[in-house]
């Protein structure tokens, strides 16, 4: 028994160290962001006179307001569309068991492992042909496609766990497939749909690759896509760079802290399903 207690104590210490390691870069950023502007900060140290107004300055300099609006617009374009299409497709694969569904499923599995760098170059030329370069609509459409494999996979797993008898009972009542989907299946699937939406929100908000490739104007990108230009402009001003980057991270961190339990569940389940 004593050995076991000692193991647990070692484990707890290691866990606390890992937790410290996880937050250390953010603390280091905060420490640098609060130093006087124009100074050259060094390591982590709590500033004697924390300059909280640096954040206000960084907000102005990094032009955060349009970035927030842009990210929100992208999320509103991507998340509901993916949720609707993936729920329908998940229902078709998991409940209706459409003929040829297996082939569709294998295609989706391929999409889950596909490195997106492999598709961005042709995607750029394709969007240019469609006249959708530098438009949020183009980025929204591209992201809907990119997130689809995971989302359908997720919803299929949910619908497989719903007893087929439920659909059959609805059919006996004379409900059309669409009605039974709309009024019976979707309400039951809401927990699965909402945790998927949390993940989709984070992935859209944090999207970087497609955002920098498809949109030139940083203020039309996602917030993290805009970081690329911000770094280019302020790489020498350590204080402002850190303050601005923290501001850009803040919305995701706040949403994560608010929905911490749901996120943890979704991330764990998402990993196991994916």
């Amino acid at each position: 028994m004593t050995g076991s207690t000692r193991e647990r104590r070692t484990g707890t210490v290691l866990l606390l160290l890992t937790m410290l390691f996880a937050v250390l870069p953010l603390l280091s950023m905060l420490s640098a962001a609060l130093q006087p502007q124009g100074s050259v900060p060094s390591g982590i140290s709590w500033p004697s006179d924390p300059q909280w107004h640096n954040f206000a300055d960084a907000w102005r300099v990094a032009d955060i307001s349009p970035l927030l609006v842009s990210s929100v617009l992208l999320v509103l374009g991507v998340v509901p569309a993916v949720a609707l299409m993936a729920t329908m497709a998940g229902y078709a694969l998991g409940q209706l068991r459409i003929p040829g569904g297996g082939i569709f499923f294998v295609l989706l599995l391929f999409g889950l492992t596909l490195p997106h760098e492999a598709t961005v170059v042709p995607l750029y030329h394709q969007m240019r042909d469609y006249g959708l370069l530098n438009s949020r609509l183009g980025l929204v459409l591209a992201l809907i496609g990119v997130f689809m494999p995971f989302a359908v996979f997720w919803m299929r797993a949910h619908f497989q766990s719903v007893p087929v008898e439920l659909s059959e009972a609805a059919a006996i009542d004379g409900a059309s497939r669409w009605k039974s989907f709309r009024h019976i299946q979707v309400p039951l699937a809401l927990p699965a749909i909402s945790s998927m939406c949390l993940l989709l929100f984070i992935w859209t908000w944090n999207n970087f690759l497609q955002a920098i490739v498809l949109i030139d104007d940083p203020t039309h990108r996602t917030m993290s896509g805009a970081l690329l230009n911000f770094v280019g402009q302020y790489s020498t001003d350590v204080v402002l760079l850190n303050a601005g980057s923290l501001l850009i991270m803040a919305p995701t961190i706040v949403v994560f802290l608010v929905f911490q339990r749901q996120f943890s569940k979704a991330l764990l389940a998402g990993a196991v399903k994916g």
Binding site: L15, T18, A89, P99, V120, G174, S224, L227, Q260, S264
Partner: protein, 312 residues
């Protein structure tokens, strides 16, 4: 759709008066069900599969993205597999697996095995919050945080100074030898928390009676680890390995934002190289061939791993 959809079901119900079996046996629905799957398939097809096929097509051409493309057969692939810069970028991606996969999985396993389960509620909440943070913030922002951490005035050097290692301090990301391991450290930071949480939650699902039995048999920590923990966590380890290996081989945002592949080519990875070749250097054919090779590499590595971790 209404008629199509419910007619077979009603027919089945007719038979169903005597037995339930026929309803169950109807394994496949009708083709009309595809109407539900169609929007998803179209979006996926147009914005993922079509570009992927185009990548394969482009890879056989020499094209600057604007003028007429010239068919060059397998030349682009020959370059990908012989040009030292391109080959070394693939080597770097595999080297990163040590930091993205091996260290996080080993560290997570060690912590999970020592803790068995988290009993204190505050520790569960605290651990989940802290350890998921690296997964939640944008990779590009994580890279900026680490550029500052690894700079000459950064925390890494500060900590080294505290333990008396002033002699080894340097600008880590600018050092030809140390830049790639430093990028690896960023990857380690990204993946460690996720693997740890996933493995702790997995070990909590192993029947406590098995551990009790192992203890009664007098099995020590390592024997229990080999006989109970490792097999019990096989599925979770598989998930960690799959996710992190893909992240290592296809790394992009962290490298682009921290080093852009430099100094020289010391931290160049295929993802960043595809981006640079395809957009800044306008060598679309070569970029596409590298993209195809990267895709094949990921599949060749992931499929056997999946098979290994799925089998019982």
């Amino acid at each position: 759709m209404t008629a199509l959809g419910s007619a077979p079901a009603r027919a089945a119900v007719g038979q169903d008066v005597a037995r339930r079996a026929p309803v169950r046996r109807r394994r496949h629905g009708s083709w009309s069900g595809w109407l539900f799957a169609l929007p998803a398939l179209v979006m996926y097809g147009v914005f993922v599969l079509r570009p992927m096929l185009a990548t394969v097509q482009y890879s056989f051409f020499d094209w600057d993205g604007i003028t007429v493309a010239e068919r060059v057969g397998l030349d682009n692939y020959r370059r990908v597999l012989t040009d030292p810069d391109l080959v070394s970028s693939i080597g770097h991606a595999f080297f990163l697996i040590i930091f993205f996969t091996i260290v996080p999985v080993a560290g997570g396993l060690l912590i999970a095995a020592l803790l068995q389960e988290l009993r204190q509620k505050w520790l569960v909440t605290g651990a989940r919050t802290a350890l998921f943070l690296p997964q939640i913030i944008p990779g590009a922002a994580a890279a900026i945080a680490w550029v500052w951490m690894l700079s000459i005035d950064g925390v890494v050097n500060q900590l080294l100074g505290l333990v008396g290692l002033d002699s080894v301090t340097r600008a880590w990301l600018g050092d030809f030898t140390w830049a790639l391991p430093s990028v690896g450290l960023i990857g380690l930071w990204l993946q460690l928390g996720f693997c740890t949480i996933l493995l702790i939650s997995g070990i909590g699902k192993i029947d406590a009676a098995i551990y009790e039995a192992a203890r009664l048999d007098g099995a020590g920590f390592f024997a229990t680890f080999r006989a109970v923990t490792l097999p019990g966590l096989k599925a979770q380890i598989g998930v960690c390995v799959t996710v992190t290996v893909i992240a290592a081989l296809a790394s992009f945002d962290v490298v682009l934002m921290s080093t852009q592949g430099g100094p020289g080519n010391a931290t160049m990875v295929p993802g960043v190289l595809v981006y640079q070749l395809g957009f800044t250097e306008s060598r679309v054919g070569l970029a596409s061939a590298l993209g195809v090779v990267l895709t094949i590499l990921v599949l060749v590595v992931i499929l056997p791993l999946q098979r290994f971790f799925r089998e019982d």
